[in-house]
Subunit: 339 residues, 2 copies
Amino acid sequence: MTDHRIGERTILFPNAPGILASAAVVGPKEGKGPFGSLFDLVVPDPLYGQESYEQAEHQIFREACLRCCQKAGIALDQVQALLGGDLLNQIMAASLAARELAVPFLGLYGACSTMAESLILGAILTDGGYASPVLCAAGSHYCTAERQYRFPLEYGGQRSMAAQWTVTGTGACLLSVSGRAMARIAGATIGQVVDMGVSDASNMGAAMAPAAADTLLRHFRDTGRAPQDYDRIITGDLGQVGSDLMRELLKEAGILLDRETHMDCGLEIFDPQDDIHAGGSGCGCSASVLAAHILPRIHRGEWKRVLFMATGALLSPTTSQQGETIPGVAHAVMIEGGA
Amino acid sequence: MTDHRIGERTILFPNAPGILASAAVVGPKEGKGPFGSLFDLVVPDPLYGQESYEQAEHQIFREACLRCCQKAGIALDQVQALLGGDLLNQIMAASLAARELAVPFLGLYGACSTMAESLILGAILTDGGYASPVLCAAGSHYCTAERQYRFPLEYGGQRSMAAQWTVTGTGACLLSVSGRAMARIAGATIGQVVDMGVSDASNMGAAMAPAAADTLLRHFRDTGRAPQDYDRIITGDLGQVGSDLMRELLKEAGILLDRETHMDCGLEIFDPQDDIHAGGSGCGCSASVLAAHILPRIHRGEWKRVLFMATGALLSPTTSQQGETIPGVAHAVMIEGGA
């Protein structure tokens, strides 16, 4: 058996699993953003014809998975596993979607790092010949996240300037070792939980930045690469506060990551004119930007090599109320062009 | 690249990853049960010296992982991934334990099927040469689960006779392709979400039974095996109601599973004299019984071949309150003897 690891924490996939197709279904606010025209479907309202925001969230999740399979020309019953999750307690959006999709389901929870986690595990399943094709997906919904993590919208709570806006949307990718791919997963660096003691649940960028810096530094050490080896190093949803912090932490470690090479999905998804404070967040943020913007750019050859690093703030209202600090985690996925 | 699947949903691991060691840390009630003397540590009280049950739950999770590594003679910094989860919102017990263990962390959520899910993904990571050794763990805590899913204990709510008792405990296994193993993972069948319309959150056995039967039937079809090919077919926590239902569903499909061959962890972990109604439940139920009872029996050669199938009820209080039915899922892991 060959060992596919290099360095301490990084995996290189010998078969470079292909991403056959990607799809993103988002809410109206996301549809008004810079990527609006790139999403596969912009639902007209956050309820999406359902009786609750939670039901809407799982229907959006389901729709993104269905459209992804359609675009890849793969029938649902050929899909050998769905790896995914969301922010709802007990990842109910993914679970209910999995029920309706009726494919083998492995539920994941990595907060906003879930899309990277699903891509890593999906790549391992396909690369090793354990399952193919595999669906990887992650989603979130502003209205359910506000109710669950902060206050019901009806409460009309004020948001701090460091607060981020949870994206309503789901991004899905179909991975396979055969077939024409829009991009390939060359490798990944699995992150560890890092907690520098931030306890402000409305400043998650600050809580996630140390984990992002840690994973990035380990990735560079393991691979011998530097920021200039990538066309883009893309974080999930550090937002303004977290992005500045991460670059500062990298700088202290001697790594200069310029604003040109670094892109944060949370800073790109909404219209800057829109009142979203520190940026977008939620599993659906990096997942939908990956599916609608990043992968198509790689497919068109505009970017040859991208490091996609979704970050997660591992907190719950209960632990926050009990005075716990916010552990962060970040996983990096090496995505390259070439069919 | 070789395809390691047989049939539609089953994987056979060419390198049969070994389980180097297992450990279980449980609460006092579990300690009084039939397996009491087999657990690595029985904590004296549910608070385990902490200020909250949630903190106790994550310390129990951490302790089980630490003891597992110690028993395997593997230093924590050699562990290349922790795959695990629990029942807390945002799997905080596993996340906080992962923070203190400081190993790469991939969070999972499969409700009470989490231990089987972690073993399957852990086996894939090690078998394929992507990471080794890997820690697989799942835990739960009666006091946190009651507060989160039902009522705080202080409320003194009455429990229905179909209700199950969430196990306080964590079970952990260390997987590796090298080293002397107490047992090996030969294969696995990944289950799909099945929902027959049960909506009674205090009768989860009934909600999970159809998923258990579905995965078992697919496993037999894929492998050409029958119940008699296994010394034991072990379900996680169907309890009395769910176990009878599953055997009934199998019978309708022409598969006779006798009470001798079928074992349900939820029916074994507590003292029958104890007032636990339909049996034990929670991620920690099958995980701790696997670690303390099942794997040692395989190691001693008393069982040659076991099918470990943990089942999960994918519900949340929110979806239940919104009138959703309870989706179930079950994953089967083929565990065999031999170092």
